[in-house]
């Protein structure tokens, strides 16, 4: 490439003046002149806070001082050296943590990557904790995260395509998939979606997901966020793709189904009967957390006939002197509960205990004894709050609160019928959702009965011979010998 061509595409040729102008008013920018082999002058430009000073000494300054080689290029003992020629390239290189070297005699520009690795140790996941099984989790370091996946899937067919998104954040994004296994359609869709993104700031993978999802106005997450490398490896193996985003420990997995949100890595560690039981409990508690309070409102507002007399006894007694109607009572209690939940997340962990005391005793006990709420409702609110936490995916927990409020309103108008209508609506919505253009409610709709082995129950691993049909993997069987 010569300069004319570059200019014609709107790029500026690199020059020391322009660079100095660019780095003006940046206290952490350094421009140093050094001599090489007595007579040759070398200019080093870098941003102090982005590079590793020890490695700078080791691989650039010291070899230059020693001057054993003829050219500067030969002298630098680093693998990541590349020649640059435009200002744009220089800017990208500087911000990635490169040192730019200028050799005036040859009028050559080099960039050497010696970024400082500002990272924390590999810790265990806090959002998806498990008792048994691998404990490591992703950190904010993209390369390290890729390493963790590659260790688990040592395949050359495991491809990692790199993109940059965000006009200001320049966030690196790596899309991983197994070539010859993952359906290429997904890869193409995801690639084109990432390329199309035009926005400034991407601080977390959820920002990326927001731009990649098919349905913006849905409460359900269409990309699974996880910080567990084993979850990613499993997803890659059954034919999904994983998108890693720089500076966040959360990777995106797609395409997912609604049921993936209920699966925990621990399911594959427990005995299959136990795992199936736990999984059923999880679905049940999700359902309960949605339905319990609306049911209370429906029964106590419209269908007193349905309540068994023994329960009616309790209910009548506890409701007989309350100031609010069941709907308002439930609404107020639920909002209070949400406030407590939210507060316990935002509060520093040391004051968490105070919160527990206030939330549990003051609000629970006192509302009953003050006659604001019935004991039955407090019990139900408690059960549904705890039940909502059984879902492994925290984002679902949040979205089901919203649905619960919807059901609450419906149940106060139409009772049980309202709740059923609500369920029909939610299921219709789920049925029409897609994740990476793939049906979200598979294997129920579209119906693949083979996939049922790993939906509500977790079948024995031995019998899960094929990869899920709804992912249309190019290699169907998980056994090596059987094709």
């Amino acid at each position: 490439m010569n300069n004319h061509e570059m200019l014609s595409t709107g790029q500026t040729p690199i020059s020391i003046d322009a660079l100095e102008r660019m780095l003006s008013n940046m206290t952490d920018a350094e421009i140093i002149d050094r001599h090489y082999n007595k007579d040759q002058k070398v200019t080093l430009l870098y941003i102090e806070t982005l590079i590793n000073p020890e490695r700078l000494n080791e691989s650039v300054i010291e070899p230059l001082n020693r001057g054993l080689h003829d050219s500067i290029y030969d002298a630098i003992s680093s693998t990541k050296v590349s020649e640059i020629s435009t200002m744009e390239e220089a800017e990208v290189a500087l911000m990635r943590g490169c040192v730019i070297l200028h050799d005036p005699s040859q009028s050559q520009w080099w960039s050497v990557l010696i970024e400082s690795s500002l990272s924390r140790a590999i810790e265990s996941s806090e959002t998806e904790t498990i008792l048994y099984g691998p404990k490591d989790s992703f950190s904010e370091q993209l390369e390290q995260n890729i390493t963790m996946i590659r260790r688990r899937l040592p395949l050359t067919t495991l491809k990692a395509e790199r993109f940059t998104v965000g006009s200001t954040s320049k966030t690196p994004v790596v899309m991983m998939y197994i070539e010859g296994l993952t359906n290429p359609e997904f890869v193409d869709t995801a690639r084109s979606k990432i390329i199309e993104i035009d926005f400034d700031l991407f601080l977390d993978s959820s920002h990326l997901a927001a731009f990649m999802e098919d349905h913006t106005h849905s409460v359900f997450p269409q990309y699974q966020q996880t910080d567990r490398p084993d979850t990613c490896a499993y997803a890659l193996d059954i034919g999904k793709l994983t998108i890693l985003v720089g500076n966040t420990p959360f990777a995106l997995i797609a395409p997912i189904t609604f049921f993936h949100l209920f699966q925990s890595p621990e399911d594959y560690i427990n005995r299959w009967l136990v795992a199936s039981f736990l999984r059923i409990i999880r679905y049940l508690s999700f359902f309960l957390s949605l339905i319990l309070i609306p049911l209370y409102v429906a029964l106590s507002t419209h269908h007193y006939q349905m309540i068994p007399m023994q329960i009616l006894f309790v209910l009548l007694e506890s409701r007989s002197k309350l100031p609010f109607s069941p709907f308002w009572e439930a609404l107020l209690m639920l909002i209070t509960l949400e406030i407590i939940k939210e507060a316990s997340l935002r509060m520093p962990s040391k004051s968490g205990q105070t919160l527990g005391v206030i939330g549990g005793i003051v609000i629970g006990e006192a509302t009953v004894s003050a006659g604001f709420s019935s004991t039955v409702l407090i019990v139900l609110v408690g059960i549904s709050a705890i039940a909502s936490f059984l879902v492994p995916n925290y984002l679902v927990t949040k979205s089901n609160t919203l649905i619960q409020f919807g059901f609450l309103v419906l149940s106060s108008f139409l009772g049980l019928l309202g709740i059923v209508l609500g369920i029909i609506g939610v299921l219709a919505h789920l049925n029409s959702l897609t994740s990476l253009k793939q049906p979200y409610f598979a294997p129920l709709a579209p119906f693949y009965w083979r996939g049922w082995m790993d939906v509500f129950i977790r079948g024995p691993l031995k019998y899960m011979k094929s990869r899920p049909e709804y992912l249309h993997p190019l290699q169907r069987w998980r056994y090596g010998r059987r094709r």
Binding site: Q305, M306, L417, I424, G425, A428, A445, P446
Partner: protein, 373 residues
């Protein structure tokens, strides 16, 4: 104006969908009334016989399934009947369809009104179900067809609720006697007609062919669906006879739901309210899929089926249908004679479509093939 893509064909459906569709469309509404019309134990044989007859009819349906012309949708129809012919036929079809939609929705909502909210204005109930149906329909044909598997899973298990009726103290073998007809009246013929009419529904699958795609073993799946329905009919009817006895049965207005009313679960004492509500799943689904057919047919009649669909048209037809529904409910359904008239009409029309549509299509296809040769 925004174009809408209600009739996109993106996903392929496997054979199991035919089973679901056939079975659920046959379990729609009439099955809930059947027992009152059949009454006598010997009508068990009538169910079996009509089920077998329906199976023969399904052979015709499956023959149509393998026709390339129907797979092509509108283009295929034009090839079969010519442009004008299609418009006229679609117009006739719409009449049948709208009666089916109206009777199903109004009839079922009457049941909801009776069991769940006796004091509420039934128009509100109808409106809420219609709105939900529109929401489902607005998701497009693809999604609506796919929805049937969820509907099936959510409603199929309800047949299990009749099992307590097969055990003592409710069940007594003497309630099933005599098993042979001791007299055969006009009423019995009407019962047979009702069974046939409630088995109708698979003929509408012919219109869905472009979405269902080419099926290899369509007869197998159609038969499975039909067999499940007939088995469910038998279970329900025998349970009803055991529960009521044939002399008390004809005094019950909604026999199936009254039976469920008798059951108690430890958590809810009156599960009829729950089950009546849950059955709405099916009604909403059927309504939305018929609604899509209706709008598609309307576009053919208006001669617009090749232009991209517009939201305005869809919304206007929804509003019109709602208005018709409410007005009919107000003027006709609420009165006793009106209900009977509409019900009778739909029994005849349903029986007629199931009898004639498959053979009519088959004849047309055969004629076309002969002309080609």
């Amino acid at each position: 104006m925004k174009a809408i893509s209600l009739y996109n064909k993106t996903s392929a459906f496997n054979g199991i969908y035919i089973v679901f569709l056939v079975n659920r469309l046959q379990m729609l509404y009439f099955v809930l009334l059947q027992a009152t019309f059949l009454v006598y134990p010997h009508m068990i044989w009538a169910i079996v016989a009509v089920g077998a007859l329906s199976q023969i009819n399904l052979i015709l349906v499956s023959k149509c399934f393998s026709s390339e012309l129907l797979l092509k949708g509108y283009q295929g129809y034009v090839e079969l009947f010519g442009k004008q012919g299609v418009r006229i036929l679609a117009g006739i079809g719409l009449l049948f369809l709208i009666v089916k939609i109206i009777v199903t929705v109004l009839g079922y909502m009457e049941m909801v009104h009776y069991f769940v909210f006796p004091s509420m204005d039934s128009n509100w109930l109808i409106l809420s179900v219609l709105l939900l149906g529109y929401y489902v329909a607005a998701k497009g044909m693809d999604n609506t067809i796919r929805y049937v598997s969820i509907v099936f899973l959510c409603t199929f298990w309800m047949i299990g609720l009749v099992f307590p009726f097969f055990f003592p103290p409710i069940a007594s073998i003497y309630d099933l006697f005599p098993l042979v007809p001791t007299s055969w009246t006009f009423q019995s013929w009407k019962g047979v007609l009702l069974i046939w009419s409630s088995l109708s529904g698979p003929e509408y699958l012919l219109v869905l062919l472009p979405w269902l795609g080419k099926q290899q073993k369509s007869l197998k799946y159609l038969s499975i669906g039909n067999a499940i329905s007939v088995a469910e009919y038998l279970l329900l009817f025998i349970a009803a006879i055991l529960f009521f006895g044939s002399h008390y049965l004809d005094k019950s207005k909604f026999p199936v739901k009254s039976m469920i009313r008798y059951l108690q679960s430890p958590i809810f004492e009156r599960i009829d309210i729950l089950m009546v509500s849950l059955h709405i799943f099916l009604v909403v689904f059927a309504f939305s899929i018929f609604m899509l057919m209706f709008y598609g047919g309307l576009r053919i009649v208006m001669g617009r089926s090749l232009q991209p669909g517009k939201l305005t048209g869809f919304v206007i037809s929804l509003i019109a249908l709602t208005a018709v529904m409410i007005i009919l409910n107000e003027w006709i359904w609420k009165g006793y004679t009106g209900t009977n008239m509409l019900l009778e009409l739909q029994i005849w029309l349903g029986a007629l479509t199931y009898l004639l549509v498959p053979s009519f299509f088959l004849l047309a296809i055969k004629r076309k093939e002969r002309l080609k040769l």
